[in-house]
Symmetry: C2
Subunit: 434 residues, 2 copies
């Protein structure tokens, strides 16, 4: 056993020495610098690459300007041997980025048959006609290897020079993210981490704060074999634990990761609510599916956002029946059957109203479970007794009910987002009891 | 008149020469580089500063590492005289950023009475107790001027050196954004643009594509006096036109901007749907309020997201009554009164079902208007006739109905977001007719 650990340690150290896993991100686009568009590309690139052991050392946004792009590439290669670039491509921008890449890596723009065919098939699939703009997408620097874009017309381009690699990707987030996962990450791993296997295990943990969890796992974590490490990724009310293993010994890695994943799971017992990386609404959804329960929501201050988060999960139609957004008092009374005198007596933002909303929507839509919210999202509508940010929420399952009041600081959008999160956590607590 | 224009031109050129309005953004935080948190700070900083004539030349994310922060500041000052930095503050990170700022700008960490009082009052307002962590927030570099944080405990710090300015702001988005608008932008304007007034006029325009709009306005735009310029900010289905004016002559500026705003409005006639910068749901909301109409939504594939966007607008309770999310067929039939035989005959994703949903929710919740969606968000559930991304939507107002079918490419979240946008645009079209 010690011999195995020793060999694994040596292999891991070799990996770290042989493979430069630092990288930089360059996001190209005037629209980012003027704040018209929020850059999301750098975020998901980092989110997808980090688990593979890649570390972003530098993220940078630059204008659609040849010299700015050139300088940014030059500077990025000081920090790392790999640069992932998004944007600056597409019909109206091609004239800046592609010539700049030619200037940096050499070569000239050439017409690429395979890219032209890909552009044609993408355009045809959208029932559109090819025009000069889309046709121009087939012009690529002769110094690159094209990775065909399976979701759009702008080709991905892989440049190599002196052991350095730059991958240019389109700026459209859903195109770039899809291609990153399907092609870019596998190709980066093959290029830089030849023969290295990677395995992940995930646990989503509730009911324990991060510092207590870290104390609980401290000893266990320090005994992890080389090449395997644990990351804490706390989210509001829930902690994502990710175990990452790297090794050239595939068999050993798989069995070690299985063993350690199981150990971790046993150690954390009831705190574990999922063994995959899922958003809160996905964890709740899986529990409902596993227990064969159906769900409805009755929302006042969250205005449909809980239903939105639940239905953002693919397959949610298996357990989610529907929702009543009862913004007006009349809807609370007439559709959800909330007692008018209770509203008058306790106030519309009260435990009684939240619980009656949950019961009412279960009855109306014929579901097993429900979650309900009533509160003051602001900026107006607050009072001394019920200041802005006050939210009562209730979760119901069969005859069991949990309810709580939260005071959420911040602006309207934040109150709505946090109330949504708290309501889902409350439902999760209840589902763990039934 | 020509003399006035000439003077305005000279003043504008002087402004450009005298005031360096380039700036850089540095976002500090390991959580950004590993993709755990999506940086939104750089986006809204740029969005708020751009209209004032400030131009971001460089946006950069760096780790919670003293040397990385030091180098990033050094490099940012090569690009611009102003650096706005967010993050790297707060209880657990103070030990890195503040000493680095001392190293860069000189001075040492000192206990600041005013900051201590602010921290105490913020902590008390949240019904929490002061601990060593929060108390440490009152330690600030002696080389800075503190701007008290009105929303949280981490103080904002203004550093000046050789005509260069760095403002360090907390990383929590709602704290930093609030303080940016309330304090940082006014102080930057006072510091760098002494005596310069700035005025904006906004128009939201629909029913015309950007290139046609640009052609329509080309001649008018070229005649704009110096110091006043027009920006096109296209969004899906809607174009935001922003007129920005800078001048030291306040009277002249105001009257010119009034005159030009009116001219632009007259020129674009019926295309104008709002004369302030508003999200689509806000434009729809104002129209409903102006016409004294009430609204409900009936949502299938959008799963409550339309209701969520409508209720994200403050004051929406004046016109928004509620919503039925009819995810399950049963809810469409029983609550919304959609004909079961029509569902069988036309399919659940059909014009007939969308229109019956809109009519049904108007009847159920007693509203004047409604918008409804039914579609396939994917990834499952598609068929040859109704592939993933197909969405039927209907808008109803009184007895008038508009409906349309859209084919939206992309993943589930994108289909939901775009269908929400298209449904709101459809409702807007209808509201313009009634």
């Amino acid at each position: 056993m010690h011999m195995v650990l020793f060999v694994a340690a040596i292999i891991y150290i070799l990996i770290l020495i042989l493979y430069e896993l630092d990288y930089s991100i360059i996001v190209v686009g005037d629209e980012i610098l003027i704040g018209q568009v929020q850059d999301t590309n750098s975020g998901y690139i980092a989110r997808h690459l980090t688990p593979y052991g890649w570390q972003a050392v530098n993220i940078r946004a630059v204008a659609d300007d040849g010299q700015a792009i050139f300088d940014a590439i030059d500077e990025a290669f000081v920090h790392s041997n790999v640069v992932l670039m998004t944007g600056g491509l597409g019909p109206t921008k091609d004239d800046i980025t592609k010539p700049t890449l030619c200037r940096y890596f050499g070569g000239e723009l050439v017409y690429d048959q395979a890219t032209a065919r890909n552009v044609e098939s993408i355009v045809a699939g959208r029932h559109l006609k090819l025009n000069d703009y889309t046709r121009a997408q087939a012009m690529v620097p002769s110094s690159c290897r094209v990775i065909q874009n399976q979701c759009g017309t702008a080709p991905l381009m892989w440049f190599e020079h002196d052991g350095k690699v730059l991958v240019s990707m389109p700026g459209v987030p859903y195109e770039a993210e899809t291609m990153l996962v399907r092609e870019v990450i596998p190709q980066l791993m093959a290029h830089f981490c030849d023969n290295v296997d990677i395995e992940f295990r995930h646990l989503m943990v509730v009911g324990i704060i991060e510092s207590a969890l870290a104390m609980e796992l401290d000893e266990w974590e320090r005994k992890l074999p080389e090449g395997i490490h644990l990351a804490y990724l706390p989210q509001p009310g829930i902690i994502h634990l990710r175990l990452t293993g790297l090794s050239t010994d595939r068999e050993w890695l798989k069995s070690e990761m299985d063993r350690l994943g199981l150990e971790l799971r046993e150690r954390l017992g009831d705190h574990v609510v999922a063994d995959e990386d899922l958003p809160l609404a996905g964890i709740v959804g899986n529990m409902l599916r596993d227990k064969g329960l159906t769900l409805a929501t009755a929302e006042s201050c969250t205005g449909g956002n809980i239903a939105h988060e639940i239905t953002a999960i693919a397959g949610s139609s298996e357990y989610f029946i529907g929702s009543v957004v009862s913004y007006h008092r009349r809807v609370k009374e007439q559709q959800l059957g909330v007692s008018a005198s209770d509203i008058d007596h306790y106030g519309v933002v009260s435990q009684s109203v939240a619980e009656q909303m949950a019961a009412g929507v279960c009855r109306l839509l014929g579901t097993d479970c429900a979650v309900a919210t009533t509160g003051v999202a602001g900026p107006g509508g607050g009072s001394v007794d019920t200041p802005v940010g006050t939210v009562w929420m209730a979760a119901r399952c069969g005859n069991k009910v949990l309810s709580q009041c939260k005071h959420i600081p911040g602006h309207r959008q934040r109150v709505i987002a946090r109330a949504t999160n708290e309501a889902l956590l409350l439902l999760l607590s209840l589902l763990r009891q039934v």
